[in-house]
Amino acid sequence: MTQLFELTINGLSLGAIYALIAIGFVLVFKATGIVNFAHGSILLLGAYVAARTQGDLGFWLALGLGAAAAATAAMIMEVLIMRRVRGVEAGVLAIITLGVDVILLTELSRRIGADILATGAPWGSEVVRVGDAAIPEARVAAAVIAVLVIGAFVTAFRKTDWGVAMRAAAADGKTASLMGVRLNRVAMSAWALAGALAALAGVFFVSFPSPGLDNATGLQALAAIPAAVIGGLDSIAGALVGGIIVGLVATYCAGYQDELSFLGRGLGQVAPYAVMFLVLLVRPSGLFGTQAVNRV
């Protein structure tokens, strides 16, 4: 029972981090119709910049710098590459993002090499005790900050001019531009925000109990893609729910690895994709996604 409780708390915390990543993924998709497979390497870039600079700047400043770097990278990608090919098929756009992903990932891997970079987070490896259960402080901090950031994002999305412009542009770009919404700016802001959220998530992702940032971090963070797909790819609420589901599933599978050993080792990494397939079998548009409607 204690183990279940521990795993649930850890799973929720991991889920909140996945939700941060998935929200950015969904945001880019809603604003520009692009499935951005480079999201994982943009996350890695942000976390890398934060980890490299935290020695000199301290954790919080480094975190800000990492977020800024990832936001800038995402914005450059949108303005220099994606904007020029707007209007081509979705499949082609996705392949372009894969190309960017390969380039970015190769360069970052070269720089990281075999190192495991620490994030310098102030909460280290302390644990909080709740009854018999031990919850790492880092996980609690990650969950609290992720929830605050998500809350701020959702409020901005619902209440501010930026949010209204974003939602109007996502619902119907042509009409939104007839209302004076500048679609290019909306797209740019979506990419930048997605990058910043990813960097933030990336830093938490590699905090304790994870040993630190290494080559494989970007790949692991990609489990946020099934999170977004489970939620429906075009729904912010879906990204939240999908993130939580993936976080819980991955944590349970890792925690009960011995009981589930008949399914082989490393189930935690595969499980999010398995859940994604199951969800898509029942609901092809995801849990909260808009169903594709075709008018003849």
Binding site: R167, G173, K174, T175, M179, G180
Partner: protein, 544 residues
């Protein structure tokens, strides 16, 4: 009641002097979409400050294209301005993006309202005001919208998608007013609305204009538009065909004939085609539509519609935009399932079949917005129409076995024969996207005919054609009917075309059948005149 232009200069007096320089000047505008030929050719229109100008024309005449060219949204639709200019108060706005044109004070209400369905009424209005940086101006704008449309105030927290059609139109207009436009561009605000609501919208347009906003009103509903507007232009196939004071145009024979379907006896009367049946094929069965009701969510697209199509006859379905005509065709071809009622063809129940099964019975259709493969040649497109009739399977065709080769040769022979009948022979090798609009419409017809159907469903076969082209099309369809002994079901806006070809006419309005009979009977029916032809009679009640 509302005041849109307090902060803008206004000319003294309500009627602009004819010599005053126009607020909006469109000069020699030519617009095209890709290689599809010109959608607008050399169009020049001047709009004076505080004027209401109506732009009339049938589907595909270039009305929406004109508004897109003014509002800067043409590029978003894949179109480009080839030549000519648009000026606002002497300043060129051609080439500005849509968002910048809005900031200059020209705001378009798009066709089909296009409100943001998942945003609340209040958020929709807010989206309309995003171009204004001044918060108090936005608040004023919102209050004004609520004052003008009290109904929207009542529903401010509801999602836009839950509003009725009329309320959505009000929201779309209110949303556009939020940007404090100098010039308001309205694209078919009467689309699919009941007559009383159309009247109400007309009144609102006048009210908005009275406070100093210049209005350009694009309409198919000529009755309402000509009543509201001071001057009007008629577009036909991308050119200005007529222009003048609205009252004069409304009284002219030409406009009455063209839009009100009234046939005068001064020689322009359309001769009823004489039938020359020559078919030796078995006759089609009777097609019977029984008490058909179709609902989408809360919207009733068709309500209790019944009619019968006698074998070998031509049955027309007419009605204003949004009356349910295309829904009806989609039910007949098995694309939509009806909520109630059924359609039978001989002993078969079409409504329980899937689209390919319906096609197998020999029922083929054309599409309103041409659905051809643009890169493929005309011949390849027509061969696609023969697909249902080919027996060789995938493997036999891929290996080019003798049987498959022989069949292919036969197919090509049939396709060439159809092309010959429809005058497409010399176009057979050309890719479809190179052809002008009228020719593509004929290819679409030829493809449907190539399947050797018994029943042919034609969805607006002459939309966007001028009179000569549509007369030619009428002849081709008539010949086809006689040669193949077809039953034809025809959905069309062009009244003259329908009257010349149809044996019987069903008139839909708001999903209901309001009249049925011979073309002559229908033309005289007062309900039809009111609903479809936009001829106003005194209406009572607020109708919302």
């Amino acid at each position: 009641m509302i005041d849109n232009a307090t902060d803008r200069p206004r000319s003294p007096g309500d009627t602009p002097a004819p010599t005053a320089s126009p607020l909006l000047r469109i000069q020699n505008l030519t617009v095209s979409y890709g290689d599809a030929g010109a959608a607008l050719s050399d169009v020049s229109i001047d709009v004076a400050e505080r004027e209401i100008v109506a732009v009339l024309g049938s589907n595909g005449a270039g009305k929406s294209t004109l508004l897109r060219a003014i509002s800067g949204s043409l590029a978003l639709e894949g179109g480009q301005i080839e030549s000519g200019s648009v000026e606002l108060a002497g300043q060129r706005i051609t080439g500005l993006g849509a968002a910048d044109v809005v900031r200059r004070g020209v705001v378009q209400v798009p066709e089909g309202r296009q409100i943001f369905k998942d945003l609340t009424v209040e958020e929709n209005l807010r989206a309309g005001g995003l171009a204004l940086s001044d918060r108090s101006a936005r608040r004023e704008g919102r209050d004004r919208a609520y004052e003008l449309f009290p109904r929207l105030a009542e529903r401010r927290t509801q999602k836009g998608g839950l509003l009725s059609g009329g309320e959505q139109q009000m929201l779309a207009i209110g949303r556009a007013l939020m940007a404090k436009p100098q010039v308001l561009l309205l694209d078919e605000p009467s689309l699919g609305l009941a007559p009383q609501i159309v009247e109400q919208i007309g009144g609102i347009i006048q009210e908005i204009n009275a406070t100093g906003t210049t209005v350009v009103l694009v309409e198919q509903n000529a009755g309402m538009a000509l009543r509201v507007a001071g001057r009007a232009f008629v577009l036909e196939v991308g050119r200005v065909a007529l222009e003048g004071p609205a009252a004069e145009l409304a009284a002219s024979d030409e406009v009455q004939e063209r839009y009100l379907g009234v046939v005068r006896d001064h020689g322009a009367a359309i001769e009823k085609r004489v039938r020359r049946p020559q078919s030796t094929r078995p006759a089609p069965h009777e097609l019977s539509v029984e008490n058909l009701t179709v609902r989408f969510g809360g919207i009733t697209a068709l309500e209790d519609v019944s009619f019968r199509v006698e074998p070998g006859s031509t049955h027309a379905i007419i009605g204003p935009n949004g009356a349910g005509k295309s829904t009806c065709i989609n039910v007949l071809t098995g694309v939509y399932k009806p909520t109630e009622g059924r359609v039978t063809y001989g002993d078969d129940v079409l409504t329980s079949k899937r689209p390919h099964q319906v096609a197998k019975l020999g029922i083929s259709r054309t599409f309103q917005n041409i659905a051809l493969s643009p890169e493929a040649s005309v011949e390849e497109n027509l061969l696609l129409g023969r697909h249902r009739r080919s027996k060789s399977g995938f493997v036999a065709s891929a290996l080019a076995l003798p049987g498959a080769r022989k069949e292919r040769a036969e197919q090509i022979g049939i396709v060439r024969d159809v092309a010959e009948r429809l005058g497409l022979t010399r176009l057979l090798e050309r890719p479809v996207h190179e052809l002008p609009y009228g020719d593509r419409k004929r290819v679409e017809l030829a493809r449907a005919a190539a399947a050797a159907p018994y029943v042919l469903l034609l969805d607006e076969p002459v939309a966007g054609m001028d009179h000569t082209e549509s007369a030619r099309m009428s002849e081709l369809i008539g010949d086809l009917r006689d040669q193949l002994g077809l039953s034809i079901i025809l959905v069309e806006h062009d009244m003259a075309f329908v009257m010349g070809l149809a044996d019987r006419v069903t008139v839909l309005d708001f999903g209901k059948c309001i009249a049925e009979g011979t073309p002559e009977e229908v033309q005289r029916n007062p309900d039809v005149l009111r609903a479809y032809l936009g001829v106003a009679e005194t209406t009572t009640g607020d109708g919302s």
